[in-house]
Amino acid sequence: MKTDPIITHNDRILITGASGYIGPRVVEKMLEYGFSKLRCFVRPSSDITKLEVIVDKNRDLDIQIIKGNLLKPEDCRRAMDGVDVVYHLAAGTGDKSYPDAFLNSVVTTKNLLESLKSNRDLKRFVSISSFSVYSSMKIRSGALLDETCSLESEPQLRYEAYCYGKLKQDELVMEYSKSSGLPYVIMRPGVVYGPGRSTLTGRVGTATFGLYLHLGGSNRIPLTYIDNCADAIAIAGFTAGVEGQIFNIVDDDLPTARELLRLYKKNVKSFFSVYVPHPISYLFCILWENYSNWSYGQLPPTFNRRRWGAYWKGNRYSNEKLKNLLEWKQKVPTDIGLRRYFEFCRETGGTK
């Protein structure tokens, strides 16, 4: 590490969404890095089995699990009390509902940030965003998509509530930085994969119509193995000199959609798929989008140009900034990560 961390091992660290997919791994990473006072914030309905195992293994450390709802300001204040660093992983997927995604990503973040106003000692607020906030509309196929690329300007047209929620969450965090001096870092993971998740990313294709349509072709898939992603997030919380920075999280050695699909079929289960060349999938998205608009949403705009641009146009990705500023290194190589992921998929049956 080039400089000393911004916090000591005895500083209090809050992790929201600690029982989610990435949350327990972030908790483990923080323990690996020697931090001993962790507060894990979870929803009342969350399954906290994984966290309880971690607590049991580390009985000598001060690990709290507190239940609450980030929509309640009093719960936020309780969570934030005496905290030095916040890892804000809690979010709502919202499925297809924009208000739900907004409520569970933006309003919750606002409540948390409001309760932070009285905490002048906060040293870092790590906000977890997503790769989905980027727009590929203005960059050509195969071009580099990194932290400097433009964001989705009209997320309501993408028909992806999660993207909208995350964009607005990012905006809110930046606004608070301007108005209240919030020391933030925004992390944008690519496709997080690993044990615990058995779906094949939609960037490879879709099974919406019964038949699996392979749309990705030779596109690189911006994968990040869950442990590598959690590691990047953990480091972002204590590395000095990165306030106000945004980091994309992707691993090295990214497979193409075609390679990933082949490996999935070989290692998990075999199924029939049809490759749809990019011009045809693009044309299909245009037609679907136009019909959806013309019919006032009789068919929802599930397939549209913006979504095509984000997921199937095909770009290159970089983790240079992550390596240069955070000194992040991919600890789990992609081949091992994929092997573990496929093992899990095999055990659970896998989902296209």
Binding site: S45, D95, Y98, F102, L103, K110, Q298
Partner: protein, 359 residues
Amino acid sequence: MIKVGIVGCGKVADDHVALIRTIPDCEIVAVCDREELMAKQLCERFKISTHFNDVKSLLDQAQPDVVHVTTPPKSHFEVAKVCLQSNSHVFVEKPFTVNAGEAEELIELARQNNLKMTVNHDQQFTTPARAMRELIAKGYLGGPPVHVESYFGYDLGGASYAKALLGDRNHWVRQLPGKLLQNIISHGISKISEFLETDSPNVIAHGFVSPLLRSIEEYDIIDELRVIISDSERFTAYFTFSSHIRPTLHLLRVYGSKNAIEIDHDKQTLITIRGSSYKSFLEKIIPSCTYAGQYSSNLVNNVLRFVRRDLHPKSGSKYLIESLYKSITHDTPLPIPYKEIRLTMKIMDEIFSQIYRTE
């Protein structure tokens, strides 16, 4: 031009805004939510100019002709009341209110102020539901309905709000007198209320917790309901709500003294059921042919409706909203008579008092 306001900017409001924007001669002038960010996001996505975080400001400053109340059910009464007091017509999301007393008070207030008000029982205004009503009016049943079966299924596993409800002991749905049922069954009950003549039907309700919920140690939420409703000796109805039965039915069967009609809200089909039998073995052949013909006809109709962009999942709501607006501008009768709203609430009150009776 009708000026429309929206109070409550959650998930349901999206549907209302999207539908209102397809209706000519109306404009959404402002939206309101206690959480200002929620109001702001709705404005931003639908390019609506003004938002507020309290109802009175919306009413005073935007002066809407009609307000859509899309808040959680517990606040329907208070929000609708203040809108009526400010001389705005009201469209309330279902369930209309939390109990019949509140419903009565709102209806009285609307009458006193000469304002129009309705509730979003959209399934009663789908194309098959309207066709059914026409057939009944033409006497297809052989007189008034004698018996109705109303099925309303619900998939607890698939609904995001149900997941939240089951996981959160403080979820607002749990605070309602009828809990989960309160938020859902008015659709199925109102289809029965439509045919009731009495103001005080007999109600016998039996509710229980499904094996699915019991398996996850949820004993507070009744999600299986069977009800018998009768109007003296003239009319009877069975209402079935289930989260367990598959398929998840949204079905209505109306029997008359001569024939019957069945509508399936999910499949958007209407089937007429002939009351008399064919002779001998013909009964085993001809009805199947006529049903095949009717289903084929439904298929063609639905394809044509799809092509004409008239198979929208929310087409019933759109028709209902348009009917309310027409009622406001042309002083035509309300799409849902107040008697029907009142009866629906009364029946629901009675059901909840029976199934959640404390010893």
